[in-house]
C-alpha cells in the first residue's frame, strides 16, 4: 500500500496547494432542500431542549426580582424538603464561588453574586426530578434583599448622582474618538450639510429554542449538550470556569433552534447544570424559561446616534461626524459600532466618538451584526436626507461614493465589492425609478419606496479543520466542528463535498459540532460559518479525491490526469470512457476507508473580503392609524457565491423580517419606576408575524465571482442580509409621508405623533 494515501497534510489546505477557484459548479448553488429537513419538520430532530437522559434531573434558577439589590440572607430549608428536590446550590456551596464577567482589573462578579446588578441575576439554583418540581422549589427559596437605587435609563446613567453599577461609575472605559482627515474642512467644503439625532430600540434575540444545557459527568470528565453557536468556544469557557483540562470537557451541539448571537457565550445555567450534576451524580438539564431568556440572555443595546454629514452638489461626501452611545447593561461589552460610518462610503473626513454606558439591566450580547443595524438606521437616513437636499436620486448619491478599499484598514483593497451592482441591479429589479416617479396619492393610504445600503465588517476566523471519509461502499462521512443554527450549514457543507467528490448529497452523512468527535471550527457567528468551513471541507474532499484517483490510476493503469470523479464513480476521460464506481475500487475495499483532512487556508494577504448589500422597500402608510405595511422588499446581496439558493433566500428573508421587527414593532420596555422589564414574553414583546412580513420579497444575489476571498468564493450573508433592512423601510416611510422616523421602532404611536407634528408645522 502506498504510504502517500495516509499523508493528510499533503493535500490539507495550507498555502502551497490551495486549489484553484471553482468555475461552473454542479451541486453548489443549486436549490437543494436541507439534508436534515425531514428530521426538523417531522419533529424527530432532538434539540438540546428535547434531550432526555436516564436519571436526568432538572434545574431551576432563583433570580433577583429587583433591578439592583443586595442579598442579605438565603433560606433554602423549605425548598430542600419539597417533593422531588435533590439539591440546592448557592454561592456558599462548595465549588460555586466561580468568578464571572471580566473587568480590566479582574472579575467583576460571581456565578451567584450577592450584589445583584440587574433583574434576573442568579441567586441560587435547585435540582429536582421534574422541571415543575424544580421551579416550585426555586419559588420556595426565601431570599431577603436589600433593595438599592438603580438606573436603567441610559440618558440618566451618566448624571453625577446616578446610582452606580460598579464602583467606578457608569461609563465603561472612556469615550473613544476615531478621526480621519479634517471634518471641519470637510463641512466647510460641503454644498449641503445634514445633522440629525436617532434613537434605536433594545431588540431581543428571541430564538425559537430557549437557552438550555444538559450536563453529565463520567468521573472527572464532563459532557455538556448545549444549545450553542460554538461548541469549541463553550468548551474553553466551561473548562476555564470549572478549572478542568480542555481534554476533559466535551461539548455537543447538534440540532439547534437559533441564536442570533445570544448563544455565543457561556451561560451561567450551563455551569449551574454542571455543578449540580457533579454533586448529585446524575445528569442535569438547565433550561431557561422564555421570560428568563429576556432578562439574562442578552439583547441588542439601544443606541443614540447624532450624525452630521456633508456632501458636494454632485453627491460626493465631504465629511461625516458622529457621536454614538448605548447601554451595555450591567457588565462590559460593546454597545455601538461606527464601522459603516467609517467604511461604507468613500469619505475623506470622518470623526466619530463611541460611548458605552452601564445600566442596571441584563448584559448585551452580540446580535446579528452587533451595532450595524443601529448605525445603519442613522447613516442611511442621513444619506437619504442629503440626497433630498441636493435633489439627487438616493441611489445616484450612494453610487457617487462607492469605495474599492477599506478606509478603516489602511486602505486595504477589497477582494471584491458588489456594492455598486447591488444598488444599480437592485434598483432595476425593484423598478426603483418607476416607483419613485409614481405620483403620491392624496388619501390616507400613502405609498413610498426607500433604499438602504449596508456592509458587514468581519471576514471570519481563518482556522477550521474538516475531515472527509469515503467508505468502501461509496458513502461519505463529513466531519466538521461547525454548528448549524438552523441556517443550513450541514446542507451547504455536504454540497461542497458532493461538488468535489462527485457523490450525491444523500450519500453524505454529516457529523458536526461535537468537541469529542470533530475538529475545531469557530463559532457560527459573524457571518463566517460558510466562508470559514467550506474551504476546509473542500480541501478535505480534494484530498480524498486525490487518493481515489491514485487508487483508480493503479487499478486501471491510466495516468491520474485522465481520470475524474462523477456520480459516485471514477470516470476515464474520452468518449465512452470506462466508469468504475467507488465501491469497485479495490484499493478502497482493502483499506475500508479513505480519509482526507482539510484545513482552512489563510486569508488573502493585504486584502479584505467583506459582503455588501442594498435593499429596497415599498411601504403603505395609513396616516390615520399610523400603521405601516411593508408591501415588498428586494434584497440585493453581494455575499459572493451562492452556495445553495434555498438557504441563501432563507437567510435573506429572515434578515429582512428581523429588520422589519427592528423598524416597526420590537422594543424592550423597562419600567421606569422599578427597573423591571414589563414585556418579557412573546406577546408583549412584539416579534413580527407572518401577516406583518412583506407579501412580496425577492432576493437578488450579486456574485462578483471573487476568486481571492477564499477557495469557494463565498462571503458572509446572515448579517448583511439584516443590516440595511430596517433603514430601507424607514426611508420608504419618509418617501410616503414626508416625516423622518428618527426613532425606531416606528409604532403607530410614534408615527401618529410625527404626522400630527407635521400637520401643526403645516
Amino acid at each position: 500500500m502506498s504510504p502517500v494515501c495516509f499523508a493528510p497534510d499533503s493535500g490539507g489546505g495550507g498555502g502551497a496547494s490551495t486549489p484553484a477557484p471553482w468555475g461552473e459548479t454542479k451541486v453548489v448553488g443549486a436549490r437543494l432542500p436541507r439534508v436534515d429537513a425531514y428530521e426538523r419538520v417531522s419533529g424527530s430532530a432532538v434539540y438540546t431542549l428535547d434531550l432526555q437522559l436516564p436519571g436526568m434531573l432538572h434545574a431551576a434558577i432563583v433570580r433577583c426580582p429587583h433591578a439592583h439589590a443586595r442579598v442579605k440572607r438565603i433560606d433554602t430549608a423549605k425548598a430542600e424538603t419539597m417533593p422531588g428536590v435533590r439539591g440546592v446550590l448557592t454561592g456558599e456551596s462548595p465549588g460555586a464561588a466561580i468568578p464571572w464577567y471580566q473587568g480590566r482589573e479582574g472579575p467583576l462578579s460571581l456565578l451567584f453574586d450577592p450584589h445583584c446588578r440587574h433583574e434576573g441575576e442568579e441567586v441560587a439554583a435547585v435540582a429536582a426530578d421534574t422541571a415543575l418540581q424544580a421551579h416550585d422549589a426555586a419559588r420556595a427559596v426565601v431570599v431577603e434583599y436589600e433593595e438599592l437605587p438603580f438606573v436603567v435609563d441610559p440618558d440618566k446613567a451618566l448624571a453625577p448622582d446616578a446610582p452606580k453599577v460598579h464602583d467606578w461609575g457608569n461609563l465603561l472605559g472612556q469615550p473613544r474618538v476615531t478621526t480621519r482627515g479634517d471634518v471641519a474642512a470637510g463641512f466647510a467644503a460641503a454644498d449641503a450639510v445634514v445633522e440629525m439625532t436617532f434613537r434605536t430600540p433594545v431588540q431581543m434575540h428571541t430564538p425559537m429554542e430557549v437557552h438550555v444545557s444538559v450536563a453529565q459527568w463520567d468521573g472527572d470528565r464532563l459532557t455538556v449538550w448545549d444549545s450553542t453557536q460554538g461548541v469549541y468556544a463553550i468548551r474553553e469557557a466551561l473548562a476555564g470556569a470549572l478549572k478542568l483540562p480542555l481534554a476533559s470537557v466535551r461539548v455537543v451541539g447538534h440540532y439547534m433552534g437559533g441564536g442570533f448571537g445570544s448563544k455565543l457565550e457561556l451561560g451561567k445555567y450551563t455551569v449551574i447544570a454542571a455543578l449540580l450534576a457533579r454533586r448529585l451524580g446524575r445528569p442535569v438539564k438547565a433550561a431557561l424559561t422564555r421570560e428568563e431568556t429576556f432578562l439574562v440572555a442578552g439583547n441588542r443595546p439601544s443606541n443614540v446616534i447624532t450624525l452630521k454629514a456633508g456632501a458636494k452638489r454632485d453627491g460626493a461626501l465631504t465629511a461625516l461626524e458622529a457621536r454614538l452611545s448605548g447601554p451595555v447593561g450591567a457588565y462590559p461589552t460593546s454597545a455601538v459600532s461606527a464601522y459603516q460610518i467609517g467604511d461604507l462610503y468613500t469619505c475623506p473626513n470622518v470623526k466619530f466618538e463611541t460611548t458605552n454606558i452601564l445600566i442596571h439591566a441584563g448584559k448585551a450580547r452580540p446580535f446579528r451584526a452587533p451595532g450595524f443595524p443601529s448605525c445603519n438606521w442613522a447613516l442611511e437616513q442621513v444619506v437619504d436626507t442629503l440626497a433630498e437636499k441636493l435633489g439627487l436620486d438616493p441611489v445616484e448619491l450612494r453610487l457617487k461614493n462607492i469605495p474599492t478599499v477599506s478606509q478603516l484598514n489602511d486602505n486595504a483593497p477589497y477582494t471584491s465589492t458588489g456594492l455598486a451592482r447591488c444598488l444599480t441591479e437592485g434598483a432595476v429589479a425593484f423598478g426603483w425609478t418607476e416607483a419613485r416617479r409614481r405620483p403620491k396619492t392624496a388619501g390616507h393610504l400613502r405609498r413610498g419606496v426607500g433604499v438602504a445600503a449596508g456592509m458587514w465588517g468581519y471576514g471570519g476566523d481563518p482556522n477550521a479543520t474538516a475531515i472527509v471519509t469515503l467508505y468502501a461502499d461509496g458513502s461519505v462521512n463529513l466531519n466538521t466542528g461547525a454548528s448549524d443554527l438552523g441556517t443550513g450549514t450541514k446542507t451547504v457543507l455536504a454540497m461542497v463535498v458532493a461538488e468535489e467528490l462527485g457523490v450525491a448529497p444523500d450519500r453524505i452523512q454529516v457529523e458536526h459540532a461535537d468537541t469529542a468527535t470533530t475538529k475545531f471550527a469557530p463559532s457560527s457567528g459573524g457571518s463566517q460559518t460558510v466562508l470559514v468551513n467550506s474551504p476546509a471541507v473542500r480541501a478535505a474532499a480534494i484530498e480524498v479525491k486525490r487518493q481515489v484517483l491514485e487508487i483508480a490510476a493503479r487499478q486501471l493503469d491510466k495516468p491520474v490526469g485522465d481520470l475524474a470523479v462523477a456520480d459516485g464513480a471514477v470516470v476515464v476521460a474520452g468518449a465512452g470512457g470506462k466508469r468504475v464506481p467507488f465501491s469497485e475500487l479495490k484499493g478502497l475495499g482493502e483499506r475500508r476507508m479513505l480519509v482526507g483532512v482539510g484545513m482552512r487556508h489563510p486569508h488573502p494577504e493585504g486584502k479584505l473580503a467583506l459582503p455588501f448589500a442594498a435593499q429596497f422597500a415599498e411601504v403603505e402608510v395609513d396616516t390615520r392609524s399610523g400603521a405601516v405595511r411593508v408591501l415588498r422588499v428586494l434584497a440585493a446581496q453581494d455575499s459572493g457565491r451562492v452556495m445553495n439558493r434555498l438557504t441563501f433566500n432563507n437567510q435573506v428573508f429572515g434578515g429582512v423580517v428581523q429588520g422589519l421587527g427592528f423598524a416597526l414593532t420590537e422594543e424592550r420596555v423597562l419600567d421606569r419606576a422599578t427597573g423591571k422589564m414589563v414585556n418579557a414574553n412573546w406577546h408583549d414583546y412584539k416579534v413580527p408575524t407572518m401577516l406583518d412580513s412583506p407579501a412580496e420579497a425577492e432576493c437578488l444575489p450579486i456574485d462578483p465571482h471573487d476568486t481571492e476571498c477564499n477557495t469557494v468564493g463565498a462571503k458572509g450573508l446572515g448579517e448583511p442580509a439584516h443590516i440595511p433592512a430596517a433603514t430601507a423601510i424607514a426611508n420608504a416611510i419618509h418617501d410616503a409621508v414626508g416625516v423622518r422616523p428618527l426613532e425606531a421602532p416606528v409604532t403607530p404611536a410614534r408615527l401618529v405623533a410625527l404626522l400630527a407634528a407635521q400637520e401643526r408645522k403645516g
Binding site: G626, K676, T689, L691
Partner: protein, 324 residues
C-alpha cells in the same frame, strides 16, 4: 411554570355550578387565558372545573324572537366563521376573526373571551398592583402606552376582548347560571368598571357560570362592523378599535351603538357619538361629528395620547365602511 392543581370535568351544569361554589376553584373553558394566568401567578387555583363536559354550552342556534343564542363554550373560530353571524351580526364575526391567532381562536371560547382577565403588563407581571390586592396602579406613572384613555380610576387597564365591544354594540344579553338558578344580564352591565370595583371585571359571582350569549334580532336596516388597530398583524390585542351597529331607515340613522375597544377598562360605549348619528344621514359630516364625539373627554396618560386619534380613526373608518 404552571403550579399544580386538581382538575374535574362535571357532566351537568348543576354539578359544575356546585363544584365552582367551593373556594379556590376556577372555571376552565378553552384554558388559553386561564392557564397563562396560573403560570404567571396572576392568581392561584386549587381546582379547575372544566366546562368541556357540557355539550349544551356549545353551538349557535336561532331564538324564537329572531335572534341568535351562542353557547358560552362555542369557540371563537366558530363565531368568526358562522354564516348567520357573518350575515346578520357582521361586527361580531369581524371581531371574532380579529381575535389573537388561528390556534387561539380554535381553542378559545366565546365565554372565555368575555371573561378573560386584563392584559395589563403590570397585572400579568411580577407587580403587586391594585387589581391583585396591592396598593397602587403601576401604570399611572409607569409604562402606560397600552393603557386606557377613558374610565381609568385607581386602575388603568383596557378591556382585552374584541368580541365584547361588538356584542355590546349588538345589545347582547348574557345568561349566568348559579346555585340558585340563572339570571340574564345585558352584556353592557356585565362588565364592572374600576369606579365600581377595581378588583373584578365582571358581575359573575363565585360559583356562577356564563352559559350563553343572546343577540337579539337586528333592528330594521341593520348593519354593523368592527374596526381594530393593532401593532402587528395577528396575535395582538387592540391598540384602539370601534364596534358600530346602526339601524338605518329612510336614509336616516334610527338606531346607533358606538363602542370602543382598547380604550377603557370596559367596552366603552359612547352615547354622545350615538346621539351625533341618530336622526342624521350617514354622510361625511355626520361621521366626522360622531368620530369627534367618540373621543371627546378622553384623558390620556403620559404615553398613550396617540390612542385618541387612533380611536377617532377607528370610529370614522367603521362608520365610513357602513356608509358604502
Amino acid at each position: 411554570m404552571l403550579p399544580s392543581f386538581a382538575y374535574v370535568r362535571p357532566t351537568t351544569l348543576k354539578a359544575a355550578v356546585a363544584a365552582l361554589a367551593a373556594p379556590g376553584t376556577r372555571a376552565h373553558a378553552g384554558g388559553t387565558d386561564l392557564l397563562g394566568c396560573l403560570r404567571d401567578r396572576v392568581f392561584p387555583a386549587d381546582t379547575l372545573v372544566s366546562l368541556a363536559g357540557l355539550p349544551e354550552l356549545v353551538g349557535v342556534t336561532p331564538t324564537a324572537e329572531g335572534g341568535l343564542r351562542l353557547g358560552a363554550m362555542t369557540t371563537v373560530a366558530t363565531v368568526a366563521g358562522h354564516p348567520d353571524i357573518a350575515a346578520r351580526y357582521r361586527a361580531l364575526a369581524e371581531a371574532a376573526a380579529a381575535v389573537a391567532s388561528p390556534q387561539l381562536r380554535n381553542q378559545g371560547t366565546l365565554g372565555g373571551n368575555l371573561c378573560q382577565r386584563p392584559r395589563c403588563w403590570y397585572f400579568r407581571g411580577d407587580f403587586h398592583c391594585a387589581r391583585k390586592g396591592g396598593g397602587k396602579c403601576f401604570a399611572v406613572d409607569g409604562e402606560n402606552r397600552y393603557h386606557c384613555v377613558f374610565g381609568g380610576e385607581t386602575c388603568f387597564i383596557v378591556h382585552p376582548s374584541d368580541t365584547a365591544p361588538a356584542l355590546v354594540a349588538l345589545d347582547a344579553l348574557v345568561r349566568l347560571a348559579g346555585a340558585g338558578g340563572s339570571r340574564v344580564v345585558p352584556l353592557e352591565k356585565f362588565f364592572v368598571p374600576p369606579s365600581a370595583d377595581f378588583t373584578r371585571e365582571t358581575v359573575l359571582e363565585p360559583g356562577e357560570v356564563l352559559t350563553e350569549v343572546v343577540v337579539p334580532a337586528p333592528p330594521a336596516g341593520a348593519r354593523s362592523t368592527y374596526r381594530k388597530v393593532r401593532a402587528r398583524g395577528a396575535w395582538d390585542f387592540a391598540l384602539a378599535g370601534a364596534a358600530v351597529s346602526l339601524g338605518i331607515e329612510g336614509g336616516r340613522v334610527k338606531h346607533a351603538r358606538v363602542v370602543l375597544s382598547g380604550a377603557a377598562p370596559i367596552p366603552w360605549r359612547v352615547p354622545a357619538a350615538e346621539q351625533a348619528l341618530i336622526g342624521h344621514r350617514l354622510d361625511g359630516a355626520t361621521i366626522a361629528r360622531a368620530a369627534d364625539a367618540a373621543v371627546a373627554g378622553a384623558e390620556p396618560l403620559a404615553d398613550n395620547a396617540y390612542k385618541v386619534p387612533l380611536l377617532r380613526c377607528a370610529v370614522e373608518e367603521a362608520l365610513t365602511a357602513l356608509n358604502s
